[in-house]
Subunit: 421 residues, 2 copies
């Protein structure tokens, strides 16, 4: 993509009201645009990352038998009355219609998913079933905060599984946990899993996935080696004690909750009278699990976990582009033409080799301004094409995560850059 | 995909309240699930088609320089007051919040796109700009009707372009028109383009894209050869007259509107004070175009245009799967095992060859029931694996669009089936 043609370029100054690192960099780099408090439009660069995150999640949910759907955001009031959540849920947007009806605007989809699966199930042999979607959610938060981390409108992957026995749910719950660990590993973040503190599901199992970052809102006692962690609010261990999983010394650290999984038991299936008849003619209760990953929140958490004082350092699987070519300017027209031609050739060749490339082909900017943008935008590999580099018949190649640049011969450019990705 | 494992299988009976062909087949085949009047959940099979339609549109919009975003559904009331549409738009859902604010739930995105692009534009040199999204829209229709064709919640690709001159807009408008023709050609439907009847944009250019189907809601005078058509409501020609484009005799036919494009002039840019300074220091007004394709509506229109009395006939680029393998049953366990093994082998080999395959591996159903489902679900190629076919060391292969089946030797199965796709 030619940066000169992207309508939403980075801003030179920090957004005045950015109260968190992710808001600061995502807004300044024009990954997102704030429409209102807690409501964002995803711009071309940000959307590329968000869609990569979504695709990673999609692949991992498909791999454990999740069936993708796209459930409606408008939800019938009747279903919410049935579960008792219409009057109980203060973050529920209730939409009046000119037809005289009222709708719920989905903050989550138990009220859709439960009767949906119920509608199609004929036999206990059809279970277990796991359905999911990657979609927009709405929550009437009193206070939106932390950039894209807690919004009134946000992206989420929510999955619901249905089982005839607790054992079967337990097994699937564990498979989802493992799939989530793969998602976070692919997204390039360090995650710990805590046994959650309870709430309305207090008797049932629930886990939170915490992305480790100094900016995290939750204080954890965590193992630096394995995924074990406890939220200090309910911790049974202290820093310095041995990890019950692997024996390593536990430390205190901070995390951002990016996902959670719940054993819902029959909380919702009972409300909908969702039972099924087994081979002996007995009516079996259906036990249910639900599993959420905040997709837009995860993008924010990645930024919180992976940045420095100059900008974002995107992990490679979720970077908007793998390579950022910086074309430097020259006052000499002939030199500029040569530089541009070399940069365009590299751009075309990398793309032909299947590499995703952003080329900063803007004119009239200093090298310093372009380098600052490359750092802010945070693509994994930066390639500088300039009069100076071409004099040495080379490109200057630097990883965003490293301070050191290296010179790569022009003839080996594509191969060596590709090897870095 | 193994049909035995899809939670949302086809129903044996037509939905009682399906008032249109698309609702009838999409619901009976479990492509969609109706949540309420005009509100649908997209099920695994339907979502596959919807995402293919979305990707075709995405590719064609990217090809004409469209920049993809994901704009917020929650929109500020202030923007709608600015354009005068807050009180004027009876289909606008207005959402009260516990914060005391009210939001608009986006039926379209002029109120987001216009100030969004304005926020980033620095120079007249940055224009033209074209931004789009593929997202869910909400309209508080008094009466939802025609299945997925006119819903309260629906999918749409909406694009907005911004230009410094009318000429530049006109050129881009024509490029979008050509891109839309490519979209519809790739979706396998016959489309005509009518000059629209006006409305609030009456002085400005607007075109509708009509998919030709006997079930269409609009009566057209159309050219059977080229894309020319007129809506009879405003027609200047009669059936039998010569097409002004190509001279062919015009006929009367019916169409479903699946897309439209508008020259909006400065209707919205004026409201937001969106002007830009040219090289002479003059403040240029910005002219704007908007371009919509109903994505969920297009899926419905495809069904309306491509079906018979047994079910859907998916055009190949938008079929959920290219191939539907029907595994027939046998009372003889050994025969059944041989049949299953041959079917599973074909299934694995086709998938390894990059072919998308649905395999109906359900047990306990008759051949007639399975054939009826294959016709209803409408994948382009049906392959029957049975004791009878395997006795001839062959598969029975039939196109959904054809009545004749042919026998394909097992050894040539993958190659010959692939050649049909």
């Amino acid at each position: 993509m030619r940066y000169s043609q992207v309508f939403s370029k980075s801003s030179k100054s920090h957004p005045a009201d950015a109260e968190s690192v992710n808001a600061h960099y995502l807004i300044q780099g024009s990954f997102v645009h704030q429409e209102m408090a807690g409501v964002y439009t995803w711009l071309p660069l940000g959307l590329r990352t968000l869609r990569k995150v979504e695709n990673i999640i999609r692949e991992e949910m498909d791999a454990i038998g999740g069936q993708e759907t796209r459930m409606s955001s408008l939800q019938p009031k009747e279903a919410w009355l049935k579960t008792g959540r219409w009057d109980d849920t203060d973050i529920l947007f209730k939409i009046p219609s000119q037809t005289g009806k009222e709708y719920a605007l989905g903050p989550s989809h138990e009220e859709i998913a439960t009767p949906l699966v119920q509608d199609y199930l004929i036999s206990y042999k059809d279970l277990p079933v796991s359905v999911y979607q990657i979609a927009t959610k709405f929550r009437d938060e009193l206070r939106a905060k932390s950039g894209v981390m807690r919004g009134r409108e946000f992206g989420m992957k929510d999955m619901y599984s249905f089982h005839t026995t607790q054992d079967d749910l337990d097994r699937y719950y564990e498979r989802v946990k493992q799939a989530y660990l793969k998602v976070f590993a692919r997204c390039g973040v360090d995650v710990k899993v805590t046994l959650a503190s309870g709430g309305i599901f207090s008797k049932k199992l629930s886990h939170e996935f915490q992305i480790i970052t100094p900016a995290g809102e939750d204080l954890l006692i965590a193992c630096p080696k394995c995924i074990y962690a406890e939220n200090t609010e309910v911790a049974t261990k202290k820093a310095g004690e041995a990890c019950p999983n692997c024996g390593t010394e536990l430390i205190e650290t901070k995390g951002v909750e990016a996902a959670n999984i719940f054993d819902l038991g029959t909380r919702y299936t009972d409300d909908f009278g969702f039972k099924i008849t087994d081979e002996k003619g007995e009516h079996l209760p259906i036990v249910m699990g639900c599993y959420g990953i905040g997709t837009t929140r995860l993008v924010g958490a990645i930024v919180e976990a992976s940045h420095d004082d100059k900008g974002i350092i995107w992990p490679k699987n979720v970077a908007p582009f793998a390579v950022h070519i910086v074309v430097l300017g020259s006052k000499d027209e002939a030199v500029q033409a040569t530089t541009n031609a070399a940069a365009d050739k590299l751009y075309a060749e990398l793309m032909a080799a299947g590499v995703e490339v952003l080329i900063d082909d803007r004119t009239g900017l200093s090298a310093g301004e372009k380098f600052a943008d490359a750092d802010l935008l945070g693509m994994p590999v930066r390639v500088v094409v300039s009069e100076k580099s071409l004099k040495n018949d080379a490109f200057e190649v630097k990883l965003r995560s490293s301070a050191e640049a290296m010179m790569v011969p022009v003839a080996e450019g594509v191969a060596q850059i590709k090897a870095l990705i």
